[in-house]
């Protein structure tokens, strides 16, 4: 028995046949190691890219960060580069206004759609509806921008603004100060439609993480589907829903072309959803490469990009943390 064991160890095979030292095997292994290292390097690239972008932005915006206190840049309300005034607050506020309106419009509808798809729809309905929703995500932003320009801006101008003017004028965030149709509401509507497919897809996945056993346990005592969703499913998925919203928000924060086509692009502090605004991505896209002779202009735009990058990174990290916490939760 002992003898048999010892003949099976690699060393003894090596001694008796010499197979382990055959060069062909060694080169195969070398190939494998080389491939592994190559794959690793390419995996590392995106990580490095984020670092490189962040560092480059920081270096290029250093002149202005050095010249003005950070507080004045972030909370300054006046943007007059020719006078040397670089207040980012109107742009930061514009970004958040547009994103908030987009999220507020998108989330309730997305929740209903994903609940329907995950909890009610037949397999056949799902197999038709899901690809169509995914297709919506594939429409280029500029097309959404044109749609916003041709349909949403006039709709806001001719329908929503007069309605709000008549019924909601006393509420300041609904008051119509700039009746052009271009503004936060139009941008929010376009954004809502753009981020909906992503939010629905994520929410749907989250609903399907709830084990069917739980649904069946509830249905088995005579609960309706709606009672089961409200009492069992929704409490389970709440953190995931939050993560889906944050994910949608970080997509909305960075959306550029479709927003800048309908938002009005006026650097002011918005007070109403009918006001024009000027979000950070629109600022950068509209102005970078022009009027670069103004002192510190280049650095100012790049520090705007840096601010945007930081905000979006924070949002993404937040959503990742929420998703991780949710996945760590035990179901049964």
């Amino acid at each position: 028995m002992n003898q048999m064991d010892s003949t099976n160890t690699p060393q003894s095979i090596n001694k008796t046949t010499g197979r382990l030292s055959r060069p062909v095997v060694a080169s195969r292994t070398r190939q494998n190691n080389f491939a592994q290292r190559t794959f690793f390097i390419f995996t590392l690239l995106p990580v490095l890219l984020i670092l490189v972008v962040a560092i480059a932005l920081f270096v290029r915006s250093w002149p202005i960060l050095n010249a003005y206190p950070l507080y004045d840049l972030l909370f300054g309300k006046v943007w007059k580069p020719t006078n040397g005034q670089f207040g980012f607050l109107p742009f930061i506020a514009g970004t958040f206004w547009v994103t908030a309106v987009g999220i507020l419009l998108a989330v309730p509808a997305c929740l209903l759609v994903s609940i329907y798809l995950a909890e009610y729809a037949h397999a056949r309905t799902r197999s038709i509806a899901k690809p169509i929703l995914d297709l919506l995500a594939a429409i280029p932003p500029v097309v959404y921008g044109v749609w916003g320009l041709l349909a949403i801006v006039p709709f806001v101008d001719k329908v929503l603004a007069p309605l709000s003017d008549r019924w909601l004028d006393s509420v300041s965030i609904f008051s119509v100060n700039q009746p052009t149709g271009f503004g936060i509401l139009a941008a929010g509507i376009v954004l809502a439609v753009m981020i909906a497919p992503l939010i629905i897809a994520v929410m749907y996945e989250i609903f399907s993480t709830v084990p069917n056993d739980l649904r069946h346990a509830s249905l088995a005592v005579g609960a309706t589907r709606l009672q089961t969703i409200r009492n069992i499913v929704l409490p389970q998925v709440a953190p995931g829903i939050l993560a889906a919203i944050v994910l949608g928000a970080s997509r909305a924060l960075g959306e550029t072309i479709a927003v800048l086509m309908v938002v009005g692009n006026i650097p002011q502090m918005p007070t109403s959803i009918f006001d024009s605004a000027y979000p950070l991505p629109a600022l950068i896209a509209n102005n970078y490469g022009e009027m670069m002779s103004i002192p510190l202009y280049d650095a100012a735009l790049l520090s705007a990009a840096l601010v945007l990058l930081v905000v979006i990174l924070i949002f993404n990290i937040l959503s990742m943390l929420v998703i991780q916490r949710m996945l760590r939760r035990k179901w049964v």
Binding site: A123, D213, A217, A220, G222, T224, Q227, N231, W331, V332
Partner: protein
């Protein structure tokens, strides 16, 4: 026989595959009926036709009738939630709801608004936990999460949750297959105690359990009911060749 459930010409298809072929059986009141047969023979399908759980699977087609107290539960005017209130199900794997022990028992009663105030709910929780033989083990920690219980305790909790909505019929889909021998025995003795008040239908794949529990036996093979009758007749003197083969361990 005093039949509580009558199944008439029941056919079930999953897509194109036929899972039940023209099933006609009667299930006696206040006895334990055991459905047995090799895996894939349609035992669970037959069981889940009795509380309309089959329709939770997409692409299921059902023809025929299931009468509970003479009422066809598949009739158009019947509310499925009422069916499931009358016909309770004990699942194969214990499935405590993600809430406290107390809330699990209260869950169904709350859904049907069966009690008036907290006092009544408290009394009911105690009552049904006692019936399920769990009260002594949990009365000090009713507000702990149900998942903190052992798996055998969880199954008794699920029994209490099911009984709390005052069903007339208890279905058990291999309700002890996930449990250790002692917990299984515990559940079995509960079911035997309860059979005076409830019509019980159990699916099992263990012949010994069938012999311990059954008053009435349904033997199925490939989607058909081969033989049905009192436990004594079927076990001692099976009429059909296939039943005999199964009882002798050949299938």
């Amino acid at each position: 026989m005093d039949a509580h459930i009558q199944v008439k010409n029941l056919n079930v298809y999953y897509g194109k595959q036929q899972a039940l072929k023209n099933v006609n059986i009667e299930i006696p009141k206040n006895q334990i009926t055991v459905i047995m047969g090799p895996s894939g023979c349609g035992k669970t399908t037959l069981l889940k036709s009795l509380n309309r759980f089959l329709e939770l699977t997409d692409g299921t087609q059902i023809t025929g009738e299931v009468l509970v107290d003479g009422q066809n539960i598949y009739a158009h005017e019947v509310d499925v939630t009422e069916v499931r209130k009358v016909v309770g199900l004990l699942a194969q794997r214990p499935s405590p709801l993600p809430m406290s022990i107390y809330d699990n028992v209260v869950y169904g009663m709350n859904i049907h608004r069966m009690k008036k105030d907290r006092k009544e709910y408290k009394a009911a929780v105690r009552h049904y936990l006692e019936i399920a033989g769990l009260w002594d083990e949990v009365y000090k920690r009713l507000h702990d999460p149900a998942t903190s219980l052992s798996i055998g305790q969880q199954q008794r909790l699920c029994l209490a949750r099911g009984l709390a909505v005052e069903p007339e019929i208890i279905l058990g889909d291999e309700p002890t297959s996930a449990l250790d021998p002692i917990s299984s025995q515990n559940i079995e003795s509960r079911l035997i105690e309860l059979k005076k008040q409830y019509t019980t239908v159990i699916v099992t794949h263990t012949l010994r359990q069938a012999k311990r529990l059954a008053d009435y036996v349904i033997y199925m093979y490939l989607g058909e009911v081969i033989e049905a009758g009192s436990a004594r007749e079927v076990f001692n003197n099976p009429q059909h060749e296939r039943t005999r083969a199964y009882l002798e361990g050949q299938i």
